[in-house]
């Protein structure tokens, strides 16, 4: 057994094996994507499948390059990303506010409880026509859709987390003579940060759903609009291209949120 650098041979072997395994997983992931793309492309070229219906990777690529060159790509992508972020921000902010008010007033929390249950269970897409009539066929209806989908879950998640604050921690603060506001800012809110971060992750996903659904219904721009439009004119390449763009955008946003969450966790000494 050589212990030249303080690490045993067995441990070195263990680490090497671990590294190999991680590499193997990553390589397989890349390979899987490559194989699917090649099969798709080959299948379309050799007419195993009808490219008019399933499109093909090179056509999607050309479509995206064309849209980028014409500048439309940024208009549509920008519109959808902007609306998603705004819907996400509004839903999270509003959810946080309502959950805080409910914590503040246990009486109203109990009054509102059955209404929340009903609102939570109703499919928000069914409210679409109402939003259009009330707010007009414009971006406001799209935002309303995104907010409607995300806000109730946020309220329920955060309010539950607020209520689960350790009563002894509140007792401790009260023994210091803390006001209700101090109890909220010193323990209830910071204690709910992990839940807040989880809610943020859920909300981002829901905001994408809400925005795309809103764009299906009313918009004249955005990836949701392109998908619906492409479907109506049977341009499946346009549909696929928009989906690919959506995949890329939502993955980037998710990674940003994930990274922020880890950063905050590290700051709080939990990592």
């Amino acid at each position: 057994m050589s212990r030249s650098d303080g690490v045993s041979e067995a441990h070195r072997r263990y680490l090497a094996q671990r590294r190999r395994r991680q590499l193997a997983i990553f390589a397989t992931q890349v390979l899987l994507a490559a194989v699917l793309l090649v099969l798709w492309e080959a299948g379309a070229r050799e007419r195993w499948v009808n490219p008019f219906i399933v499109s093909q990777p090179t056509r999607i690529w050309e479509q995206i390059v064309r849209m980028a060159a014409a500048g439309e790509l940024w208009v549509h992508l920008g519109a959808t990303v902007w609306r998603t972020m705004a819907g996400f921000g509004l839903a999270t902010g509003l959810g946080l506010l309502v959950a805080s008010l409910l914590w503040w007033s246990p009486f109203w929390a109990r009054v509102v409880d059955p209404y929340l249950v009903v609102l939570n269970s109703v499919p928000k897409i069914s409210l679409g026509p109402l939003f259009i009539v009330w707010l007009g066929t414009n971006v406001r209806a799209v935002l309303a859709m995104a907010v409607a989908i995300a806000v109730v879950v946020t309220i329920v998640m955060l309010y539950t987390a607020f209520r689960e604050t350790d009563p002894n921690k509140i007792l401790l603060l009260r023994s210091f003579g803390a006001t209700r506001w101090q109890v909220f800012t010193k323990v209830v809110l910071p204690g709910a940060v992990p839940t807040l971060l989880a809610a943020v992750k859920v909300n981002i996903g829901l905001a994408w759903v809400g925005t795309i659904m809103g764009e299906f219904l009313v918009s004249g721009a955005g990836l949701g609009y392109l998908i619906i439009y492409g479907g109506q004119v049977f341009n499946l390449t346009l549909v696929m291209s928009s989906i690919v763009l959506l995949l890329i955008a939502s993955t980037i946003v998710y990674l940003l949120v994930d990274w922020t969450e880890k950063y905050i966790a590290r700051q709080r000494g939990r990592a």
Partner: protein, 253 residues
Amino acid sequence: MAVVELEDVTVTYHTPSGETRAVEDLSLTVESGEFVSIVGPSGCGKSTLLSLIAGLIRPDRGQVRVGGVPVRGPNPAVGYMLQQDHLFEWRTVLDNCLLGLEVQGRRTRSAVLRVRRLLKDVGLGDFAHRFPAQLSGGMRQRAALVRTLALDPKVLLLDEPFSALDYQTRLKLEDEVSHILRTQGRTVIMVTHDIAEAVSMADRVIVLTHRPARVRREYVIDLEPRRSPVQVRESPGFSRYFRDIWRDLDVQV
């Protein structure tokens, strides 16, 4: 001079299934600089007494006075230390210890220095900027002690402060805490279910009855005071107190 006075205090708890009398016509007095332990059968309302003195609950009848003034709510002159440390995971040890000062708007530079000195006194000088998760159980409870002492309370209420610790840590901490509190001449009221802990640390042990709690008997512990609790446990008189209190508690399993 009497620092804490309870006079014919009665407390009742109300729940949908009925009312429970936790404390009835209870009177007791604690002198300045005295270390008093309160023992009693489990669920007898020991912690209720501390909540009364801390001003967290009001009695239905009777009066509670601290420093001669009737208690009307939480009072900076009283420090409350709970069974669990309840350190906030997202704050460093130092920030945890400054919590009370922060709440009371007294977090000044000199206060921070004083708390740092206290941390050093309990052996946590190097851990001021660590997070609670990085501390052992004993260290966490020491930090909780500093958090309570940071407010410089006249009266310290300890609610089974060592019961969550393993035996060795517990003995060690009893010694340390008792040394610190006696050196600083604090008035201490400690609730515990551990008779040995009560006898070895306190000047006086008050035994309560089953619910509703009343004072059953008082023992002035006369065992060469100012010796450490571990040493007190070896004094010849120790086991007599232990036996008498055990009998008073009339434990039914």
